[in-house]
Assembly symmetry: C2
Homo-oligomer: 325 residues x 2
């Protein structure tokens, strides 16, 4: 398996991705409990909440209280999400988060028009003003992401050329502002990717931009999440977003209840079983996943928390052999 | 993607795998409805039921009625499962099934002892008597399967060497009886496989037995089913067992409710999106998957029936563009 990376970085987004889609009110303390539990697993980064308009996303109205309440574990990066300067200001005001700038373009103009009422040209303008905002607040920016990079429910398939054009756009904008994009995230926002398109797009990007660190943000709405992550690893991708227990969901799926982000513990399981390090304690992560189900109050899609890890079984086998010897 | 096969054969096992694990009584007619629905999807083979002891598996007591009731569609093979000559006799007596012989060895002696109260030596003896039985009933035998080929909850990891030894055993036994094993199924009975072990084991088997048709029977208990199938295809495997909607389950999982077989429509979706033919109509198969959920009366794990296919979305996008033109 020499084509696979020796180590991958898995960035946890469950507390943010997961809570924003839940219908029922979840006590702030329970959200904090989940973050504190995740802090003990060895995860290097946890996205704890989202500073979006409380009117638009009532589940996120308690973002400041969440941040005030969780316990910072040394060595863990705690991040937040924001979509405008108001959100960034609220995130900075907590004085407790690791504020990192990131730029975003969307590969599908139809999706942009629908979701943000913006054209692609306006999306590019917004990137310029985002950079201004980050500079104003003295926030470093060296990462960017492309949403809907593999396909869009409203525009259909996205060509590899489109993705390459957007990366060039990022580089051109960066040059104008004296910024270097070092890490690029390709987001499969509406779960159009399969291992074939992951290989095609990642391969083309790596060919043209070999120095760029690539990251994948995969949704599991069509059950391809783990296979897509594997295909990404085969192409050398070493950074993945994921959500504990498969928290989240997809507002664009045909049926509500479809899976959200690729599940953190399933991804960690696959890595460890293939000899790829993550720095994460799988057994502790399974405990967090079971807690996540309690917090949201309904079953979540992750498999390992149901199927169980193999190391526990290996341990049992070993013990039963020692007992016989 | 030149390393992937142009076409794969997906063999449906849902009506058998699925029903044997369901607790509630399911009316025979509903089981028949599901088979008849699957017959319309383009599947080449459907395993309709299991001729096991009605005392041991009460859900399968109506096997003869199921077989009597479903409508044979020309071009589809309808198979059954049996574990001894009594079961085979019952299957033959229906005069409606495609009776094909298959031999089975288990890679884990601990699992054998636990599940069939047999040693590996007794397992081998049983293969000899199975061949005698097939010859007696004039049933052709050219396929064999290895259970627990990737690991066992009671024995731990299974070495590649063990799998290769068992294939040699099959060949030796076959020679003694003038039988040629043409197709070999590797079964991940307790869901220990990951893409890494799939590549390792399949690679070793293909190296040593390049003329053998390989088939994979994958369980999705730990969420690796689709990724494992993809890894298998990359290694040239062209035959897969699967269960519509992910029907089934795993009696060996840590928690009841864990997923069973890899889901047929998710596998078909991945194949078609990567340009691999299956001969199956995905939209019709999704209808069968939704019917399967109604039949068992609870949600089933398959993703595409929730997330929706992409061709429907592509069609919508096309229509909306034509409407504007």
């Amino acid at each position: 398996m020499s084509d696979l990376p020796k180590r991958v970085r898995i960035l946890e987004e469950g507390p943010r991705e997961g809570m924003q889609i839940e219908k029922g009110p979840i006590p702030t303390q329970r959200k904090i409990d989940l973050i504190d539990s995740l802090s003990e697993t060895g995860l290097e980064q946890i996205q704890v909440t989202s500073f979006v308009s409380p009117q638009a996303v009532p589940q996120m109205a308690d973002a400041p209280e969440i941040v005030a309440g969780f316990k910072r574990k040394p060595g863990v990066r705690y991040t937040g999400l924001w979509l405008n300067d108001k959100g960034l200001e609220r995130a900075i005001a907590t004085q407790k988060l690791d504020i990192r700038g990131s730029l975003s373009l969307t590969a599908s103009e139809k999706f942009l028009l629908r979701n943000q009422k913006r054209t692609l040209a306006q999306n590019i303008e917004a990137v310029h003003s985002m950079i201004g905002m980050f500079k104003h607040y003295n926030v470093e920016v060296n990462r960017a992401s492309i949403m809907a990079a593999f396909g869009c429910n409203f525009e259909g398939d996205i060509s590899t050329e489109r993705v390459l054009e957007l990366i060039k756009t990022f580089h051109d904008i960066g040059e104008q502002h004296g910024i270097k994009i070092e890490t690029l995230s390709l987001a499969d926002t509406m779960a159009w990717a399969t291992p074939g398109s992951i290989r095609r797009v990642v391969g083309a990007v790596r060919n043209k931009y070999p120095d760029l660190n690539l990251s994948l943000h995969l949704h599991d709405t069509r059950g391809m999440g783990i296979a897509n992550a594997y295909a990404g690893m085969q192409m050398g991708v070493q950074i993945f977003d994921a959500a504990v227990a498969g928290l989240g969901g997809c507002p664009f799926a045909s049926h509500s209840g479809a899976s959200g982000n690729v599940c953190t513990e399933d991804l960690v399981f696959m890595c460890h079983e293939m000899g790829i390090e993550t720095g994460i304690d799988l057994e502790k992560l399974i405990e967090s996943a079971l807690l996540a189900e309690q917090v949201v109050g309904h079953p979540l899609p992750g498999s390992i928390k149901m199927g169980g890890s193999l190391n526990k079984l290996r341990q049992k086998v070993k013990e039963s052999m020692q007992a016989k010897a």
